[in-house]
């Protein structure tokens, strides 16, 4: 069934509206919602030029693409023209990208129009968008609460209807958790499904590109446009994504018990159970499954990912581009001061953890051990998927927490990733589906996880539940 975006494209193509009108409307909406601080920059000039070009294409009777005139927002760690790519850090405050990310190029080739760049935790390190060097983004439903993160800005602009879809990156939950906190869909695809080329790297082994939208069909459409092999990213897989209109009957769905413990908010568990009830009512076969290794995944994640972070951030040294400290006398000072000024506390914390776990004498005890545990996690998933088609759990243990509530306690902050990190480490597709709200009206999300390459099935399942 066609989604919201399909309808917009039909209207643009039929002349009922124009690309320019959609872009102007999005820019206006962005201005109205400025106080949420979801966007770091607008790419208005370029967006309007592109809109006019698309309107002319249509006027000339040519095919304008599957996303003709649809405005969107990218997380500001995508290289994209029209405004600097800052990764929400001082390090890249004035960094103008010389080229665009493959994902952005593919969307533009289908006529989509990037209108702005969304806030994030600096270099995508965080789960609340409080680690941005440019200020905190507020939750779309309660401005005293966090947006979630690290793709907080993208989730909020989608929830506030500034744009029909927005791009994010997800390394350990950075799309799913803010989607959950803001009540929108957020898709983390199979690792390697969408090119990472032109996206500021966080952890090369788990980084994926994905999108936020308000209905499942939109997720399918945008994902379909972005998916596919890219010679510029050797880890991409040959295109396997094909949107599904229907879902098989009697899917075998497992509720992960280890993600439904007392540590999870009661309201979140109840919402999950309610969703599970609806799945059963739709004829699917549901049972509860054990996955004891889940409790070790945060430990694995916070060894492997900081290790990669320490490596991927080594290039920001003040020598060739980016922030370069003034008044330094030696090379060591240039490195030390530039990196000290350019990175936020959470960046530094991860660089230090990562450097430590990779250092001589500790590599085997930490990094190697974590990789071995990761293999066990993948095996545990494989075992579960022998008997199950889809796993379900909450996306986050809580609804959006208060701004400032967890900033002094990194461990507590990291715990909000506990449900999302396992699929990241295993490279699996996982989708946040809005599933009600708690007593104070904050959104709750459930997470559907499937085996590798089951992306289309997860989206179709969510869509089938929308209609009920």
């Amino acid at each position: 069934m066609a989604g919201y975006i399909d309808g917009l494209v039909q209207d643009v193509r039929s002349g009922k509206t124009t690309a320019r009108a959609l872009v102007e409307q999005a820019l206006e909406k962005a201005k109205e919602t400025e106080s949420y601080h979801a966007l770091l920059s607008l790419t208005a000039e370029r967006a309007l030029e592109r809109a006019d070009a698309i309107d002319q294409t249509i006027a000339g009777g040519k095919a304008p693409g599957r996303l003709a005139g649809v405005p969107f927002v990218v997380k500001d760690n995508f290289l994209a023209f029209g405004a600097p790519t800052t990764a929400a850090s001082k390090m890249l405050e004035h960094y103008d990208a010389p080229l665009q990310a493959t994902a952005v190029e593919k969307l533009e080739a289908e006529g989509a129009i990037c209108i702005g760049k969304a806030n994030l935790d600096a270099f995508a390190h965080g789960g609340s968008t409080e680690n941005s060097a440019y200020g905190v983004t507020m939750n779309a439903h309660d401005t005293t609460k966090v947006a979630g993160g690290s793709s907080g800005g993208s989730a909020v602009v989608t929830a506030l209807d500034v744009v029909p879809f927005a791009l994010g990156t997800d390394t350990g939950g950075s799309i799913r958790q803010p989607a959950s906190f803001n009540g929108v869909y957020g898709m983390k695809p199979t690792y390697g499904m969408i090119s990472r080329y032109g996206v500021v790297a966080m952890a090369s082994g788990t980084d994926v590109i994905g999108c936020f939208a308000k209905d499942a069909a939109d997720i399918a459409l945008v994902t379909d446009v972005m998916a596919g092999q890219d010679w510029r990213d050797m880890t991409t897989l040959p295109d396997f994504f094909a949107p599904q209109d229907t879902v098989p009957e009697k899917l075998r769905i497992g509720v992960v018990k280890d993600m439904m413990t007392d540590d999870v908010d009661a309201s979140v568990r109840q919402a999950t159970e309610a969703y599970v009830g609806r799945l059963e009512a739709a004829g699917h076969v549901v049972d509860y499954v054990d996955m004891p290794i889940v409790k070790h995944t945060l430990a694995m994640y916070y060894i492997i990912v900081p290790a990669e972070v320490s490596s991927n951030l080594a290039r920001y040294d003040g020598v060739r581009y980016g922030l370069r400290a003034e008044g330094v006398k030696t090379l060591a000072e240039l490195y030390g001061k530039s990196r000290s000024e350019g990175f936020v506390t959470e960046n530094k914390r991860r660089i230090m953890i990562g450097s430590f776990v990779l250092s001589s004498g500790y590599y085997d005890a930490y990094y190697n051990q974590a990789q071995k545990a990761r293999t066990l996690l993948i095996e545990a998933y494989n075992k579960l998927f022998e008997s199950h088609d889809v796993l379900i759990s909450p996306t986050a243990p809580t609804t959006a927490f208060g701004i400032g509530e967890n900033t002094d306690d990194p461990i507590k902050m990291y715990l909000s990733d506990v449900m999302t990190v396992p699929a990241s480490l295993a490279g699996l597709p996982a989708l946040n589906v809005p599933a009600g709200e708690d007593t104070s009206g904050l959104p709750i999300g459930v997470q559907l996880t499937g085996p590798q390459k089951s992306d289309a099935l997860l989206i179709a399942l969510a869509q089938s539940m929308e209609e009920k």
């Binding site: 510029r232 020598v319 581009y321 090379l331």
Partner: protein
């Protein structure tokens, strides 16, 4: 200097960086030939380490590594991987070098390096890994400039076992490695531009000792001669320290061709922790047996195969080694052997070895048409040219001339072997009163005097008389007189 060789043994292992002859860099589409280019013009955003850039492995580099494996008698790993080696330096844009720490593409192997006395030394190869080069810094007063043209250039680093025990062996190993890598087409082998760089690890220990001494690493030697000299110097330096009761410091040292000395650069205490980790941007390289076979089948003849092929030429080993210094010459000798047989090949081999200047590396190679060379050999066989004239004509052919007969005519180098014509000159010489003393000497058994008479005939014939024939006619005529 005292001769320490009776008292100490040296143990040497060599690491050699070979720049691969690919068109583009190891992980970017930038031009791999940065020689004499304006700084930072042979670069791509990947080489600059810009945000969002990802490495794309150059297939050709892997193919060349597979060829190198054949030349090194080494197995190719079915699965190899890339790792990151971290350190901060302005010529290293990503803050890490991409290398193969844990799973190199080229596994154990060996090579036999020929020595001057005709024997050879077998050096085992521990492994060879593929890695990317760093850029270049140029230091000025108060500032330094970065040139990333070379950043990302593909290398293989060939790591030998410590099987080398003299400077001469070290040089022989380096030389043979050079031949193998250039013959196999792995590298252009331009030593002047650093296409092959050697690091010499050397330690000394008292003769008969079962434990090795502390080693030093002398880095970045770019000629065979400097490998030999640096090894020689380090051996004596370390021996002298030991004689004085001092300890050898494990360190990296640099070599100066000008002073002929090594100097300390960095001690082990300053050694960096490289924080190696697998590079998740690059999937494992999986090489199937069929692919390896197909690639290795394209490797041209290697020096050992030429040596085998020329075993019946009966020329000196030094002749063979000097020909092998240049693949072009080796090909030529084999082509002559195939088309013209042993005698011709032997002639050409000797001409090459005796009359061409063969640089260790990078000399301008000359070449000639095989048919022309065979024609020249035939002229020598038929006594149509003298051996001096033949060498001169050979050099002309190698420098691009053709048709040796026309050439010899033009230069007046053709020998006169017409018995009547030479006989007339001989008659005239013998009739000359100035020759009478020599004639008498010969008659009385002093054969040496014939040289004078032959010389006169050559002079009167303007050098064109066949000297052997002249001599024969002189003898005949004196005997008959």
């Amino acid at each position: 200097m005292t001769d320490f060789h009776d008292k100490y043994d040296m143990t040497i292992g060599i690491e050699c960086h070979v720049q691969l002859a690919t068109k583009t860099k190891l992980f970017s589409p930038a031009d791999n030939d940065a020689r004499d280019a304006v700084p930072n013009t042979k670069t791509h955003p990947i080489d600059f380490g810009l945000p969002g850039m990802l490495p794309v492995l150059n297939r050709e580099a892997v193919t060349l590594a597979v060829k190198a494996a054949k030349a090194l008698n080494a197995d190719v790993a079915e699965v190899s991987r890339f790792d990151r080696k971290h350190y901060f330096y302005p010529d290293l844009p990503n803050g890490y070098q991409i290398t193969q720490m844990y799973h190199p593409t080229i596994l154990e192997g060996w090579i036999d390096a020929p020595l001057e006395d005709g024997s050879s030394v077998r050096v085992r190869i521990n492994h060879a890994h593929i890695e990317s080069d760093a850029g270049k810094l140029t230091h000025f007063g108060g500032y330094s400039l970065v040139d990333l043209n070379r950043a990302g250039t593909p290398l293989i680093e060939i790591v030998s076992e410590a099987d080398i025990h003299s400077p001469a062996e070290a040089r022989a190993y380096a030389t043979e490695l050079y031949r193998l890598m250039t013959y196999a087409g792995v590298t252009h082998g331009d030593l002047y531009h650093g296409n092959m760089r050697f690091d010499v690890n050397l330690s000394v220990a008292p003769k008969g000792s079962s434990t090795l001494g502390t080693r030093t690493e002398t880095k970045n030697l770019n000629s065979f001669r400097s490998v030999e000299r640096a090894a020689e110097y380090e051996f004596y330096r370390q021996c002298e320290l030991l004689e004085q009761g001092e300890r050898i410091v494990q360190e990296t040292r640099g070599w100066s061709d000008d002073t002929g000395k090594t100097t300390s650069q960095r001690s082990k205490e300053d050694a960096q922790d490289y924080r190696y980790m697998p590079d998740a941007d690059i999937p494992p390289v999986i090489l199937e047996h069929a692919f390896i076979e197909k690639v290795q089948a394209t490797v041209p003849k290697l020096p050992s195969e030429y040596r085998q092929e020329w075993s019946e030429l009966a020329v000196d080993k030094s002749v063979i080694n000097s020909i092998l210094a240049d693949q072009q010459y080796a090909k030529l000798v084999s082509a002559v052997l195939a088309d013209g047989g042993l005698t011709a090949a032997k002639r050409v081999a000797n001409w090459i070895a005796s009359s061409l200047t063969i640089d260790e590396a990078g000399s301008e190679t000359m070449n000639a048409d095989v048919a022309d060379l065979l024609a020249l050999c035939a002229m020598v066989d038929a006594n149509e040219v003298s051996s001096n004239a033949a060498t001169e004509l050979f050099n002309d052919l190698m420098a691009g001339a053709c048709d040796p007969r026309v050439l010899a005519e033009q230069k007046g180098l053709l020998q006169n072997s017409d018995e009547d014509a030479i006989g007339a000159i001989v008659d005239a010489v013998l009739a000359n009163p100035a020759s009478q003393k020599a004639v008498e000497d010969i008659k009385s058994g002093n054969d040496k005097a014939i040289g004078f008479l032959v010389g006169q005939v050559m002079k009167d014939s303007k050098g064109q008389a066949n000297p052997a024939m002249a001599q024969k006619l002189i003898r005949d005529k004196i005997a008959r007189s």
